[in-house]
């Protein structure tokens, strides 16, 4: 298998090239077929790799060529597939395939069909590169590559300037994180002389306590990268805006895969983090804050995709909370389950939008339950899963994180549970607003509502099943499970766990915690039902006044405006200031002033040439006197 491993990323790349070159000449069917099939083959190969690793327990490490080598710094182009990346491979290619399939139906009427598939394939390629890289730089290639694809796909409908802006924003915010990542890489090179995972992690594990100081810097810098990519506070605002892209993109990139790259990266670097408690704490706090913050915003959103977007941010916050409290497996588990249900929810939302002829505002929906049954059913499953209601997948992963959080700090736990309650509330709010009550859209829309074609519904169904049962691979022991995932990933987190120590909660405590979190989720569910399904209350139109708190939430805490005020405006001001004042008047003014000064001097000096012989001779005489004076006084020195 090892010698074919390169096929996994190369196949989507081939798809990109074929579809990219043939975007105008090939028929849509062929394009869709090629795009999906290649990812499917990749998925097959990934499965094979997965089972090989599962059976052998050894990671696969293959080196291809020297990519950059300067002096002592040698960066090979090499792949490393271990347990962690094997699962990521499955998620990427698996979910990726489903979304490709979905896109065939969803994008069928779009002019840029070929381009879209090319970009999607390219994205898969970069994402695979990200997880397969055997060193940070290859990871970084993928890291930035997915950023590029995200940029391209968000701005897919670039003729709309605000979409183009959203794409730009996403790219730039990612870049802020990337800089941190890059600096982290430099520091790693500086400390370890290499960036190869296989070399540096063992080295790091063997460091003494006093030598771990730089690790804190490294981990902080890497975390900056993760913050950017995974849309954490304070760099999260791009993700909701990224909903400008077509819905499959939101599902694949901005829910299932790319945004979890940050989690993957930290999980990958777990040894570094375990050795830097300060960073761990920070990661947890940032994650928690993000989870809460995004959830609060999601409460009042009216755009169906925006709700999901903030929910994604919030769930990502959960993952970081998990990482921060040392629940690497839990966090990763959540990545997995989140990929299923969030992709499902997005695709479902896409199906809704499709049905509503492009309408995304929930205030104009309602009562769709009976009209698009499959969509409704799958969405319901997804909602339950994300709300953390057993036995659906979200419950297990979320619970594992919360349990670790409890072991770490009660405050974290309380906030976490509160966030879970909010999650449950806004998710069901979305569900009720969309599918229950009366239809609030126009007649045309109502007339037009129909279930989506099979290419759309099949992925929904598959994902719904996965959302339901996906949690089974990580059933904790208190519930009588084996926690397969934990065992499988154990080699990856072995050393970290040794450093952090195992938190073993008592079974009773765990039961209480589970019960508590499920309880609040149910309370929120019921409250939402009363409010939106039973009473049919609808969020107010944009023109009307909102209560202050609602308004703050609806306007995303004015965070975009804040950034505008404290970053963008000052930079723009500096830009104009530098150009008009420093550059034009200052530096260039000095240069031109020198020239002008010389010319002015010339104007003055030439007046010396009066044309008057008497004056000339007078000056000459003065000169002679000066020279003679020199010979009088200068002589004494000689």
């Amino acid at each position: 298998m090892n010698q074919y491993i390169w096929l996994i990323p190369i196949l989507p790349l081939a798809g990109f090239i074929i579809n990219g070159l043939g975007r105008n000449s090939l028929s849509k069917n062929v394009i869709g077929f090629i795009g999906s099939l290649l990812v499917l083959v990749s998925f097959g190969l990934s499965l094979a790799v997965f089972f090989q690793i599962k059976s052998s327990g050894h990671p696969i490490n293959v080196t291809y060529f020297d990519w950059i080598s300067v002096g002592a710094l040698k960066i090979p182009f090499a792949f490393l597939v271990d347990q962690l990346s094997a699962i990521m491979l499955l998620i990427i290619t698996g979910v990726g395939f489903l979304i490709h399939l979905y896109s065939i139906g969803y994008m069928h009427d779009d002019n840029g069909f070929g381009k879209f598939f090319a970009y999607l394939n390219l994205f898969v390629f970069f994402m695979l590169l990200l997880v397969m890289g055997s060193n940070y730089l290859i990871m970084f290639i993928g890291w930035e590559g997915v950023g590029l694809c995200s940029y391209l796909l968000i701005g897919f409908w670039y003729t709309n300037p605000s979409y183009a802006d959203a794409a730009k924003k996403a790219f730039i915010m990612n870049r802020i994180g990337d800089l941190g990542f890059l600096l982290g890489i430099f520091l790693i090179i500086h400390i370890f002389g290499s960036i190869d995972f296989a070399i540096i992690f063992p080295k790091a594990a063997s460091l003494t306590a006093s030598q771990t100081v730089p690790l804190t810097a490294i981990t902080l810098l890497l975390f900056v990268g993760a913050v950017g990519k995974s849309a954490q506070l304070p760099l999260f605002t791009w993700l909701p805006d990224a909903m400008a892209g077509p819905t499959p993109v939101s599902a694949l990139i901005h829910a299932a895969t790319m945004v979890t790259a940050g989690v993957y990266m930290i999980a990958r670097s777990n040894i570094f983090y375990s050795l830097s408690p300060f960073t761990m704490e920070l990661v947890a706090i940032v994650g928690l804050a993000t989870a809460l913050f995004a959830a609060l915003i999601a409460l009042t959103q009216t755009d169906i995709k925006k709700v999901l977007a903030y929910s994604t941010v919030s769930q990502l916050g959960y993952m970081f909370l998990g990482l921060g409290v040392g629940a690497y497996t839990g966090a990763f588990f959540h990545v997995l389950t989140h990929a299923f249900f969030k992709a499902l929810l997005f695709l479902g939302a896409g199906s809704v939008i499709h049905a509503m002829s492009g309408e995304q505002d929930m205030r104009k929906m309602g009562g769709l339950k009976g009209k698009i049954k499959i969509t409704f059913a799958t969405m319901l499953i997804g909602t339950i899963a994300i709300s953390g209601i057993p036995p659906f997948s979200g419950f297990f992963s979320k619970d594992e994180i919360l349990a670790h959080a409890y072991a770490h700090s009660t405050t974290f736990y309380v906030i976490g549970v509160f966030t879970a309650m909010l999650t449950s509330f806004y998710m069901f709010r979305m569900l009720y607003l969309t599918f229950y009550g009366k239809f609030r859209g126009t007649h045309e829309q109502e007339h037009h509502v129909h279930e989506s074609p099979a290419t759309i519904t099949i992925p929904l169904i598959v994902l719904a099943i996965l959302s339901m049962i996906g949690g089974m691979i990580g059933v904790p022991e208190v519930l009588g499970g084996h926690h397969e995932l934990e065992h499988f990933l154990a080699p990856v987190f072995e050393k970290s766990n040794a450093i952090l120590g195992e938190h073993h909660l008592q079974a009773s405590t765990e039961f209480i915690l589970m019960g508590f979190s499920v309880g609040v989720a149910l309370v929120a569910l019921v409250y939402a039902w009363f409010k939106y399904a039973k009473n049919g209350s609808v969020p107010v139109a944009d023109t009307e006044e909102r209560p202050a708190l609602t308004s703050i939430s609806y306007n995303k805490f004015y965070i975009d405006e804040l950034y505008d005020l404290i970053i963008r405006k000052p930079l723009d001001f500096l830009s104009t200031f530098f150009y008009n004042v420093v550059e034009r008047l200052g530096i260039d003014g000095l240069v031109n002033g020198l020239g002008k000064g010389t010319i002015e001097t010339s104007k003055g000096l030439r007046l010396l040439q009066t044309g008057n012989v008497g004056f000339y001779i007078f000056i000459m005489v003065l000169g002679i006197i000066a020279v003679l004076a020199y010979s009088i006084f200068g002589l004494t020195k000689i």
């Binding site: 008497g614 007078f618 005489v621 003679l628």
Partner: protein
Amino acid sequence: MSTFYFIAFLSIFFSILVITAKNPVHSILYLILTFFTFTVHYILLNAQFLAVVNFIVYMGAILVLFLYTLMLINLNKESEPVKPFMVKIAGVFGGGILAVALASSLKLVATSNPVILKNPDLGLVKNLGKVLFNEFLLPFEVSSILLLSAMVGAVLLATKDPKTAS
């Protein structure tokens, strides 16, 4: 000895008159007197040949030429516009300081050896002729070019060109 100082005084006196006389013709006349004192100096230094040449060439030829030109262009009046007073002051100061500077840079206040006539025949025509036509033959010949050039030039410039307009 006192003769020297007397003549020196006269030289200075007349030369000052040369530059201060309002009428250019007077200036020339004073200049003739000044040159005459120089001739006396030469005689005192036993440079007889030079005394004679000075007398003939300068006073006889050059100054007459001046005078002649002056008359020719009818400038024998006090027609010269005077320079502004400040300029004159500046000029006098300039010249004065130059004199002082020259004198002090030459350390003239220090005592020095007297001028003693080592070779009484030095300034005689015979002796000078020998030097001139032996050692200084080449410069003598070459200075003919100078004179020739000056002659051609003077003629060229001073003649009225009938067809200048073209």
